[in-house]
Symmetry: C2
Subunit: 156 residues, 2 copies
DNA sequence: TACGTATAGTTGAAAATGTCAACGATTTAT
DNA sequence: ATAAATCGTTGACATTTTCAACTATACGTA
């Protein structure tokens, strides 16, 4: 069989089950788009030695909001111990710095270094390209609508 | 994500970091809604000794489409070896049965038993309730729109 | 037909990720 | 003052992911 015919058949078999009722399940749709998107995103970020998560931490560290590690854990839906590992690695690479919290000295705020900001600026370009790829089937208005609905579902 | 982390997040003071640019990132939004949704779904399915994944397999086994394990792996974005484990457990509980593929004897189709169908009917009620909870901030039209956009992003 | 190649399911091992409980240092509440 | 709670951290443990084999079967071609 030719490679082209192989691809056609693979696509056809993949599509056969789309008729199943699970395709109406939001949990399934989110899981599948998230899974596929993560592959694309991580591939795009690999050249900067970042993954989705370290990229997220870097964005927040660079936001000017001076997030604490606890806030990062809450927003990223991760265990605090995972934040420790992520910040450890970014700090080792001099992309972010920890600083004691101003009101609460138990807390540590995470801020991007200038090196971190520069890397982020480059990575963000690749990430935007990856997002376009993931949402290629949607036009700009639909993509914006999807984002708005996801934000509303999360925060009302 | 832990149930405790999810509860904390729901009750925590208004998330100040939502203003950060990462809230515009589709990957982040998908990850977060999926993470929160999984907690809700798995909690709802726990009384049937199911998780999101075994529930998904059971739905597909009950769809009448007689999916092969390979098709399940493709649709659910899972490694074939994970499907083996999922089907093994459902088969041990007599909820699904393996049958050799009709055209291809290498393949094994997975179909729900009547016991599986009955359990699924109950679990689906809990799953629908969970979905309503996850999408509580959206009205019915918005929820349908979200699903349609996710499906379009996935399959065009 | 027979042969080489490809694929479905399975197993098991290794790596990555997730979960959880404890601890010191602080903060908050009583 | 004291007790309780919180933040970051560590380390143990569980789960999930990833990948490389292996068998049985199917397919392609000479």
């Amino acid at each position: 069989m030719t490679i082209e015919a192989q691809d056609e058949q693979q696509t056809a078999t993949k599509d056969r089950l789309v008729a199943a009722p699970i395709s109406q399940d939001v949990g399934f749709l989110l899981a599948k788009l998230h899974a596929g998107g993560s592959v694309v995103n991580n591939r795009a970020l690999a050249e900067f030695d970042l993954k989705e998560r370290s990229y997220s931490v870097l964005i927040l560290a660079n936001s000017g909001l001076e997030p604490t590690q606890r806030e990062l854990a809450d927003l990223l839906s991760l265990d605090p111990s995972q934040i420790v590992a992520l910040v450890d690695e970014l700090e080792k690479r001099k992309l972010v710095a920890r600083a004691p919290g101003k009101q609460d000295r138990r807390a540590k705020t995470v801020t991007a270094t200038s090196k971190g900001s520069r890397l982020l600026a480059q990575a963000a370009i690749a990430a935007r390209r990856a997002e376009s790829e993931v949402l290629a089937a949607l036009d700009d208005g639909e993509a914006a609508q999807l984002k708005a609905l996801l934000r509303k579902a999360l925060w009302g």
